[in-house]
Amino acid sequence: MTADLERAISVVINGVPRGATVPVRWLLSDALRHEFGLTGTHVGCEHGVCGSCTVLVDGEPTRSCLVLAVQMDGHDITTVEGLSRPDHQGGQVLHPIQEAFRECHALQCGFCTPGFLTTIAAGLDARDPSVEISDDEVDELVGGNLCRCTGYANIKKACRHAAAQMREGAKVATLAPEDEELAR
């Protein structure tokens, strides 16, 4: 076995299969921005401290500056661009946390926002939506990301707001058909 300086990789990014030949020294964040043109992933500190480059690798929050692009061969990546879903009318439905950021004024300059959104979205999607979110859970959700202008108060408010919205959604989803009729 020899050591390579370049490698061809195949990845699925936001549901779309993509391929590229990348220098092995490229970080995932480099490949996302420079090769795949997905500039929603922001590069802040580039050594794992700030969290703004966080993306989901196979659904789990991962610092894209702390993995090599070449290591992502065969994996599934979700960037902030992939958090919303098509509404099948030509538009997009935002993830509840994206809606909540808008609702709660949880961003000002927006630099750290993609990392917060991907991290919190994965955390909220992984938890039981019918249970009220605790302050400890919220702290854990935002604890690995730095924000230097908005402040964490509104970001935490957005977490609670999104969790509450998802809780309402879960309630509606679990209603029996006749209750759903009543609910309308």
Binding site: M1, R25, T62
Partner: protein, 293 residues
Amino acid sequence: MKPAPFGYADPTSVDEALEVLTAEGEGAKVLAGGQSLLPLLSMRLAAPTTLVDINRLPGLDRISAGTDGVRVGALVRHAQLLASAEASAVQPLLGRATANVAHPAIRNRGTTVGSIAHADPSGEMTAVLALTDGSVTVATAGGRSVIGWRDFFVGPLETSVHGAAVVLDAFFPALPDRSGTAFAEIARRKGDYAVCGAGVVVTLDEDGRVAAARAAYLSVGLVPEVHDLTEAVVGQSVRDADWTAAGELARGLVDPDGDLHASADYRRLLVATLTARTLADAGVEALARMEAA
């Protein structure tokens, strides 16, 4: 903030990994989770000529918890160990410590064995390996050997293993009967490197009195150290043991350095405080476990 150029190999067997490491020589470095290594590369504090990525090696992503202890494979992520109820049932320090390892996004990728092989004295799992009197299994071309923690940690970011070698797993012995543990750290931001941290084990005698108290610290000293604090509290009942005296004993035993985050004196103060606090918790837990048994 970009790594210097290097070659990359991702072998699919331990033998193949050792072959590449041997062929590439001094400049080769093993890459597991990369959560400590990649920042070093990006900041150009390290510039290996070749990275040997072990993520494709089969069978190393398993945790096996038995009555004697917990064996953690080289590709087990911190998040996986944190989520393992079986591992924490055998050795509660594993769950307690991994909960303090960095942030969730780092724990998803970083490996427990990788952080041990990285030998950072501010790492949680290095301290836990020492406190539990654990060991690692190392593969070299000459075969496999088990190395106890005292012989493994040589200095900050330095182990006794040199040349072509892969650490395959770490073994953490089970918590003994009539014992309890606690783990706490002080960090500027939750999940950041600890300014100081402490892990402790308290063992009681059959009458529920303190028989042994041991502690290991983070960000204190150049290599993990285990301090025996038994003499300060031996024979005392858990409810009114003088844990503060044990903390003061520990303060005198440690020899931390000062840096821009904390002076040496402040670290000694944190050692005393965290020791007293964690020993009290561990004592209560030991009593509860004893009564439940």
